[in-house]
């Protein structure tokens, strides 16, 4: 195993997709064997001590989340582990890479996590369009069953684990964990009232832990090498590595596993090869479409949860989208709000009615029909729709993050559209 890049280093070592034999010859499944000999509570303590935080966007402490299921011992079929592999946040492409190129690390992470929370059934909730990841993961799961790593009495113990893939039928809202549980149950993917949170009552009313793909892939390394090692991988306040990605007009778009807390500038300039000739960077969404814009002055910030939050945005999924100087910020916001309006589940009014209204107004401004006062109207509605207590789930607040920040950082561009009665970029 590559001890500085425990998630994807092996893909480079092997030179492509990692099958079970390659995975095992690099220390794969050692952590599962070790964990199955540990007390579940000790695994939870270890993951807590390592300070692993959720890589699905919110950064919630993984050990703490697992700890909510502590209590009555194993009851068959009593608790569920669900891997969130719905990856639909625009600009995000990290889970696909893990699923396609290193599926066994996810299976191993799920074996450890399931044991830690006393789950005997686990699901991978996989987005429907992910055909290549489906093929690779299916192959890996079949292989793990054949080896006795999944099924009844895994690794010769008396522990059971069934692992199934649920292929989703679309819609971004399925990624929200309670909507995901409804989808898993075969229903419309409407978010649920919280509390109760899934660790108390989740899939089919049973205690359920939902974790992102990348989060679970961090678990084997922690079990094998310990919490101190995990802390030593990160810089700054957070521990471990992070898969960072860059898309947009750079020389080498892609993703890299780096110490968590690497600066934005290093990621863009060293790893992504800098901006393409003739293009200047104007702004970026640091962790997917639902995160606030950052600009030039933020480039030297560390990409970790606390630092990016202090700068008024979120690290989110850690895959950044760059806006260069050929792109109109108003039109880019129109594109983003079109997505969020379309993907609203329709349950609550500010989101269902508000987001299409915002999209319409952005179209008006972009096409030169904006009026005096429109920006103040946008400001006010953004504040209303983005208020976290005004909607039933975090879809609408997330939708507003890029817009509200664009109205701050690129206000001149918005005003220019209204003044000129046209888009200055066309």
């Amino acid at each position: 195993m590559d001890d500085t890049r425990p998630l994807i280093g092996i893909i480079d070592t092997v030179g492509g997709a990692v099958d079970r034999l390659a995975y095992e010859s690099h220390g794969g499944y050692e952590a599962a064997r070790k964990a199955l000999g540990m007390q579940p509570d000790d695994i939870i303590d270890l993951v807590t001590e390592a300070n692993l935080r959720g890589r699905g966007g919110a950064g919630f402490g993984t050990g703490m989340k697992w700890g909510f299921t502590r209590g009555p011992a194993r009851t068959p079929g009593g608790k569920y582990l669900v891997c969130n592999a719905d990856e639909m946040e625009p600009g995000t492409f990290k889970d696909r890479y893990l699923l396609e190129y290193n599926p066994h690390i996810l299976i191993e992470g799920m074996i450890v996590a399931a044991h830690a929370i006393h789950a005997e059934t686990a699901y991978v909730f996989l987005r429907g369009e992910y055909h290549e990841p489906f093929r690779e993961l299916t192959k890996a799961i079949d292989d793990a069953y054949a080896q006795g790593y999944l099924g009844r009495g895994i690794f010769g113990t008396d522990i059971n684990l069934e692992l199934r893939i649920h292929r989703s039928a679309g819609r971004y809202i399925c990624g929200e964990e309670t909507a995901l549980l409804n989808a898993l149950e075969g229903k419309r993917a409407q978010p649920r009232q919280k509390p109760p949170f899934p660790p108390a009552s989740g899939a089919w009313g049973r205690p359920t832990i939902v974790n992102n793909v990348e989060t679970l892939c961090n678990v084997p390394g922690i079990v094998r090498n310990g919490a101190d090692w995990y802390h030593s991988l990160g810089t700054g306040d957070d521990a471990g590595t992070k898969i960072y990605g860059v898309s947009g007009r750079v020389n080498k778009p892609g993703l890299w596993e780096l110490p968590i807390g690497t600066t934005i500038r290093e990621i863009i300039e060293e790893h992504a090869g800098g901006m393409r000739e003739g293009y200047k960077l104007r702004g970026l969404l640091p962790g997917g479409a639902s995160t606030d814009f950052l600009v030039e002055e933020h480039l030297d910030l560390a990409m970790d949860y606390g630092t990016i939050q202090k700068a008024g945005s979120r690290m989110g999924t850690g895959t950044m989208i760059l806006m260069d100087d050929s792109i109109c910020p108003v039109d880019m916001c129109r594109n983003l709000e079109h997505f969020f309006a379309q993907e609203s589940c329709g349950f609550c009014t500010p989101c269902r009615e508000g987001l299409p209204w915002v999209e319409e107004l952005l179209i008006e401004i972009e096409e030169g029909r904006g009026k005096e006062g429109d920006l103040e109207l946008l400001d006010r509605n953004a504040m209303f729709i983005g208020g976290v207590t005004n909607t039933f789930c975090l879809h609408a607040p997330g939708a507003i993050e890029p817009l509200a920040s664009a109205l701050r950082y690129f206000r001149d561009d918005f005003e220019e559209h209204i003044r000129q009665g046209k888009c200055p970029y066309r």
């Binding site: 079929g77 990856e87 639909m88 946040e89 625009p90 600009g91 995000t92 492409f93 889970d95 696909r96 987005r127 429907g128 369009e129 992910y130 055909h131 290549e132 069934e162 199934r164 649920h166 292929r167 989703s168 039928a169 679309g170 819609r171 971004y172 989808a183 898993l184 149950e185 075969g186 229903k187 419309r188 993917a189 089919w204 990605g245 860059v246 898309s247 947009g248 007009r249 778009p253 892609g254 993703l255 969404l285 479409a289 895959t319 989208i321 760059l322 806006m323 260069d324 792109i327 880019m332 594109n335 983003l336 079109h338 997505f339 379309q342 993907e343």
Partner: protein, 162 residues
């Protein structure tokens, strides 16, 4: 139609696959989405007739099943062509020229988004981020993801799907 006749609209293979899913779930209704996706894999789409049969098989009302079907964009309640073409319209692809790509595809196929070619060969749909943003702009034809698409490459790409 009798219950048995209704269910018999489904093939033995379809029923076997649906039952396999249902067997792994705490209740039969939970297999609703899987069942529709299975039938769609065989028939291309989910007709009213198929919907009724699935509802019977899983012991739920047609109305309930249809409300689930219409929630999800990958369940087709109308016939589609032999191949479904999806062009990503999300933000990274937008930055890398998705609008131009969509127009080129529309021109090439002679249809707009949401339409099917007259020979039933292609249906064109928009799709959100395909999770391959480092290869933007992207599109998908059936199960195949295609990245870094240029208008010039379209001719050769579509030729592969008869």
């Amino acid at each position: 139609m009798s219950e048995a006749a209704l269910v018999q609209i489904l093939s033995d293979d379809e029923i076997r696959e649906i039952e396999e899913e249902a067997a792994h779930l705490p209740d039969r209704k939970s297999a609703a989405i899987d069942a529709m996706m299975i039938v769609q894999r065989y028939r291309g789409w989910v007709s009213d007739e198929s919907l009724g049969a699935i509802a019977r098989l899983l012991g739920m009302s047609v109305e309930n099943l249809d409300s689930i079907a219409t929630f999800y964009n990958l369940i087709y309640r109308k016939p589609v062509g032999r191949h479904v073409v999806m062009v990503c319209d999300s933000v990274s692809c937008y930055v890398m020229g998705a609008d131009g790509l969509r127009k080129a595809v529309e021109e090439h196929l002679g249809i707009a988004l949401g339409e099917t070619t007259e020979d039933d060969r292609f249906t064109l749909l928009p799709i959100v981020c395909l999770g391959a943003c480092d290869r933007a702009p992207t599109m998908m034809v059936d199960d195949e993801l295609i990245g870094d698409v240029t208008p010039e490459a379209l001719e050769e790409i579509f030729a592969r799907f008869a």
